[in-house]
Each structure stands twice: as structure tokens, then as C-alpha cells.
Amino acid sequence: MSETFSLRRWLTTTNHKDVGILYLVTSFYFMFFAGFLAMNFRVQLFSPNQSLFTASAYNQVVTTHGLMMILWVLSPMGFAFANYIVPIQIGAKDMAFPRLNALSYWFYLFSGLLLVSSFFLPGGGADVGWTAYAPLSTTKYTPQVGMTVAAMALIMLVASITVSTVNFITTIARERARGMTWSKMPLFTWGILYTVIMMLFAFPPLGAGLLILLSDRILGTMFFTSNAGGALLWENFFWFFGHPEVYILLAPALGILFEIIPAFSRRPIYGRKFILGAFALASIISFLVWGHHMFATTETALVKKIFSATSVAISLPFEIVTIYLIATLLRGSIRLSTPMLFGLGAIYMFIIGGITGVFNASIALDYQFRGSYWVVGHFHFVMGGTVIFALLGALYYWFPKMTGRMYNEKLGKIHFFISAIGFTMIYFPMFFLFDMPRRIFTYPATAGWDFMNHIATIGGFIFGSIQLLLLANILLSLRRGPPAGFNPWGGWTLEWLIPSPPPAQDFEVSPKIEREEIVFPKGGSTEWEDVEESYTPWPLTITIGTTLGLLGVAMFLPLAILGLAVVLASLVGWFRDDFRGKFAAKAEGMGMWPFEKISHEKLGMWVFITAEMMLFSMVVSGYIYVRSNSAVWPSPLLVTNILAHLQGGIINVPGVGEIAIHNIVLGTVNTLVLVTSSLTMALALNAIKNGNVRGLKIWLLATLALGVTFMVIKGYEWAGLYSEGFTITSGLPAASYYLTVGLHGAHVIAGLIAIAFLITKAYKNGFTKESYTGIENTGLYWHMVDVIWLFLFPLFYLL
């Protein structure tokens, strides 16, 4: 099924190049949508006292523009190229998990559509800015359902990114061709690896914050409206994600520059090892700077100083990167083709954005600049200019490889020069508007801001409209562009050694990298067997079900039930494909040091577990945060004679008043049930490793029974708590208990579904002494659920 215009192909593909193209087209669609919104509010700001938008409409437009550009355009466009290019650059035939790759894409697309749709719902969409600061984002101040749907879109995107992270880490770790050592791996692939590692730790905090926000909005809890939680709780969650996000956007862009600049300078990148070291350093420091977004809050002076120092420090690795990029140019034989022009443009943008960023690390200057157009100018030069120009450079650079045709060079150069002028006209004047607040929808004539806003708006229209030339160039070149050949730029990485566009499986024969040469073994058998192209509808149908489910929870509950049914039916289809071994042939890569002794499924599961643990640790952090900020928190530690109150209930504590503590007996029994289920799961794996299928069935059934028992006890306990008035809206102690334990319960249910599938497969003799991957990985997940409970039990029942 390789017809270009076959709808079935594009809806069911799992091929990494197809998925890459889908990402590219979708991210461009979202870019034009978000860009159109930007041009609208630039009209509003063109001159004082404009009335094109009301305050709320303006805020909705700006919010959707910001969210969409950052999360649905810049990052996914980088991952469009990553999907297409990374597997080829490392000599793989596809991603480690092709179906999950398709699932990531569909989650991305539908989450973006959810965000767009929220814009048109009654009451409008989110109008709280891309930072969604609480308590502004709670129903108290933003009651419209559009805000809820926007938060759900973000949750769906977090899920997409988590799946993508698992896939890329596993692919790069496990699927590299022989001889493709870390030291020989192309820098674009390195950039993507750093990106996904940062994503692994940055997105779960956002997910945790969104879960709590949705709990406030839908279930009526009060995390973000209470004094114990409130604005600072959200800010910590958000910026622990938000600042690394800047480097998550930057790393693929810099990776692209590391490909383009050497290729068009005709010399290898200068200081490769230092660049990789700088990247690593930046990735670590990126998680230590989030507090500089909160200089104006109640942070202590010491904390502010620490974050100021780390914020200055993070500029150091990027200075190294910039200097080495320029040093690569110095003795190069430079060709100013369109990709190179965009690459140089990105460096120019990065220098301006970087230098102005250092100012924001200063506590004193931050008090002046924060919330002003100075900041807007700064972050657009970094996240907009640098990243977009690098991505456009990548589009021109890899367009011949992806399509087999050259683009029109003259149109490309015109596109670059006008884009650079337009972009600078928009954002450079904003540095002179350091006294203009960024979150106003209009301004008075007396402010004196109109001239700079005139220039910015004219620049916006120049930049926006010239992108139509890019579209025209692409469409014309797709039809009439001259053939590109294998390697129009004289590139050195693997993608330039295969036809343009590459065949479905990338390589006829697996490449080997020997010393500084790439070798395609000839004669003899190929190292990877030819694999039939694989198509499956389940990633798409799971996504449709999830979207319906989320919309249903926000607006109309029966829709959620329909969505759940679609997801469950799709999972059955997915598992049936598994059972038939439909995707098994794509499974195993070579495995290079230090990942040669672990299967890619197991590695993927460990990466996923890391993301899950990060999510739970953030939710638990939220619990500890609100608990530490509460004057009194119900705890068995407050009860003098706890032996008399092991079954919990409402207890009158002298000097404190009435408090509700949990049933320690039930909590203990449930803990014992869950640890016993861990034992039976371990015994199930042990049984099949020894070829004992009967033992496998018995232990799996026992695990299922114990898991169900755990949930039944939990249900009984919750029913009792509710009847005593300990409801989710009865205060933060109840809310944090139900949210955290409920999230854990959802994970138990997901594990039970997987175990039910394993039992079915075991009864159909689907496991043998040699083939038990599903048991092993489900076991890893099940034990993770156990480990989480081992902490939740003391935190909620004992302390």
C-alpha cells in the first residue's frame, strides 16, 4: 500500500517516514492557524484604542496562539524531521515501536484539534495566557468549558509526548546499525536524544499540574483556589516544565544547525565533543532555573540568588555551542544556499535572543522587564526566531531527500530575506517597549507605544504573508522540481547514501560503520529480513475513543462511555495483532553498547516507568505542598490512642478539633494484597521461564484475583468514606487522597486489563519458554504500581 494519495495508507500507516510527513503537514497547518491568530492581534495592537477584539476575545486569541505555537508547532515540527531522519541516520529500518509512533501522531493531531475546537465552544476557549496561571484558570475565574477542553487537549499532548519519548530513547539506544557508536552518531540525532531525555522529566510535572487543574475544574476540588495550594503550587508545576521546554524546543533546532552548517561550510563541525558536553550541561541546568520565573513571588532572597546564578550559568553552554558554530564557518568553503541562509539566520536570532535572556536572570532587571514586551521580544527571538528559522532551514535541507525533487532556489532565498526582515521588524521594536505591559488588549494614545507597534504589526504581515511563498515553492517543486539525486548537498550522514525519496524500508541491506566509513555489505544474506509494510487502524481508533472520552467528561458523560467502549474495542484489536505477531518482525535491532543486553521492549518499559514515577512523584509533591501549607492536617500522629482508632473515622482531638483519619486496617490489608500480587506476578514469570504454562496460568489468575480484590476493598473503603461525608469536595485532605489514590487505582485497572490479555494469550498457548516478553513487561508495570502504593500507604494512612 504505497500509493501516495491512498487515504487508507495515511490513516493506518506506521512507517516512520509517513508519520514524519504527517507530523510535518499537521504542524504546518497549526502554524498557519496560530500565525493567522497572531496577525489578528497585531491588528488590534497596531494603534491605540483599537476595538477589533474585546478583552476576553483578545486573551483567547493570544492564549491559543501561544499554546499552539509552542506545543503544537515548534516541537512537533522538529519531531517531524526526527521521525523521518533519525531512524535513517542511525541505520535503522523503522522506529522501535512503529504502532506507538503512529499513536503519538494521532494523539498529537487530535489534541491540537481539541484545542482549536475549544476556541469555538460556547463562552469561548482558554483566555488565561499560555501559562494558565492559577487561580485564574480555575472555574471561579474562567468558568467556560473551553478552558476545560483546552486542559484536556494539553493532557492528551502530554500522553503523546510520553509515548514518543519512550519510542525515541529506545530507538536511539537499541536500533543503531553496527558500528554506529555514540561518538559517530550524527549531531541531529544527538539533539533529539537530549530533547527526549529532557521531555521524560519535564512533561510529567505539566501532566501532574493539569490533572490537578482538571480535578479542580471538573470534580470541584480546591487545590489552586485554596491558600494552601494556590498560585505558587501551579507556578512550580508549570515552570518546572516550562523552562526546560525552551531547551526542548532549542535542542532539535541546534541539532539541525549542526547538520546544515558543516554541510554548507564543507568541513566537519568544530569542537564536536565540547558541543555534546555543552548540550549535556544545558540539559541538566535546564531543570535548575525554573525559579527565575517567580522572582516576583514570595521566594526567599537566598532562593532568588540561587536561581539567578543558575540562570546566568545556563547561558554558558549555549555560548560554547554558538562559538563552535561560528568557528565551523571560519575556515569553511561556504555555500549560501537556502538551508544555509536559514541556518545563519537562526544563529543571528539566537545571539539576539540569548543576550537579551541574560538580562532576565538579574533579579533587579527582572522586576522591571517581567510582564513587559521586552520579554515577548526576547522569547520570540529564542523560541520563535531561532527555532523557526532552523526548522525552515531543515525543510529546505531535507526536502530533496523527502520528495526526490529540488525546490526553487531563487524563491527560497527571497523567502529567507523577507522572512528575516519581517521577523526582525516584529520583535526587535519590542525591546524598546520594555515599559509596555504584555498582557493588555489595547493601550491609550498617551502611552507613546504606537510607533513601535506600527512597525511590529507591519513586520508581522510581511513575515506572515511571505510564508505563502514557501507554500507555493513546495507545491510547485513537488510537481516540477528537478530530480534531486541521492546527495544534492554532499552530506555525510546515512540519509544521503540512499535514494530520494527513500524506499519503504530505508536500507536494502543493513549498513555498517567501520572506522570513518559507511559500508553496505554485499552478497550473502541481509542482516535484517525484509518486512512487509505494516498498517493498522488501532492507533487512530484509540485516539478517536480517547478524544470522545475527554470531550464526554468535559461536556456530556454518555459520550465518555462511548469513547471508553471504542478504546477498549481498539485495544482488543491491538492485542489480536500482537497475538498474530503482526508487528513482531519489526522488533529487534542490533543493540549497541551499553544497551546490547536488554530487549527494546524492556528498555521501553523502563523508560515508561520512569515517566510514570515522575508523574506520581509530582502529584505526591503537590500533596506534600498543600499539606505543609495547611495549618492542621488530619493524621494518626495527632491521635493519642491510635490503637483504639485503627479503623479510622472522625476523631475529636483536643486542641485541634474533629479530624478524619483513614482506616489503617483496610489500608494494611490492601497493602498486603498488592504485595502478594507482586509475588504471584513474579512467580508467573518464573513459571514460563521454566516452560511451566500451567503454573503461568495459575499465577496470572491469582494476580488478577488479587488486583480485583484490591480494587473491591478500595471501592468499599471509598463508599464508607463518602457516607461519612469525607467527599472529594470536603477539603484538601480528602481531595488529595482521592486524586492520588484514584490515579493509582486507574493504573491498577490498566494493569488488570493487561493481565486479562495475558491470561487469554496464555490459554491460547501464546507463551513459551522462549517467548514471554509480554509477561515480563506487564510484570514490570505491575510491580511499579506496587512500588507507588508502598509510598501512598504510609503517606495517606499512617503519617
Binding site: F595, S628, N686, L798
Partner: protein, 95 residues
């Protein structure tokens, strides 16, 4: 490791998990300060988690490249929990 050896190991670990769970509850009854109780209970929970991760999840048999993912996170989590609880303690000890 032979099948029976491994089965025995799993059962021993289960026994430790059960015993430690009971110890956690009994700690509540001990005449100790709240600070000691909190530290003891979290420590015991951490030991239990490490037992599950290293034996049931076989992390001790995995290559170091795999160990680094969960171990880094687990260590961070434990340190973070202890720090957070220490910060929270003044409010938790209101009597």
C-alpha cells in the same frame, strides 16, 4: 539461578514485605517523637520499594545502563520526600 531457588527468593522477599508493612503500622504505636516516626516509616517504605524493584523487577540483574533510569529517579524521589516531609513537619506535629 534454579527455579526453586528463585521461587524461594521471591517468597522470602514477600515475607519481608509483609513483615515490614506490619512494622510500619507498629511504629505508629511506639513511644517515639513524630520526627522519628516519619523518618522510620518512610525509610521502611523505601526499603520495601527497593526490594520490589531489585528482586521482583529484576533490576539487580539488569545492566547498569538500565539501572540508571529507575535508580536515579527513586533516589531523587526518596530524597525529595524526606526533604519535603522535613519542611512539612512543623504543621504535621501540631498537638
Amino acid at each position: 539461578m534454579y527455579d526453586m531457588d528463585r521461587t524461594k527468593l521471591y517468597v522470602y522477599v514477600w515475607g519481608i514485605l509483609v513483615a515490614f508493612t506490619i512494622i510500619e503500622v507498629i511504629t505508629l504505636l511506639a513511644p517515639l517523637t513524630h520526627t522519628v516516626i516519619i523518618a522510620a516509616v518512610i525509610t521502611v517504605a523505601s526499603v520495601k520499594a527497593i526490594a520490589v524493584v531489585s528482586i521482583y523487577q529484576h533490576l539487580k540483574d539488569e545492566p547498569n545502563s538500565v539501572k540508571m533510569f529507575p535508580l536515579t529517579l527513586l533516589i531523587l524521589l526518596i530524597v525529595f520526600l524526606l526533604l519535603a516531609l522535613l519542611i512539612a513537619m512543623p504543621n504535621m506535629m501540631v498537638q
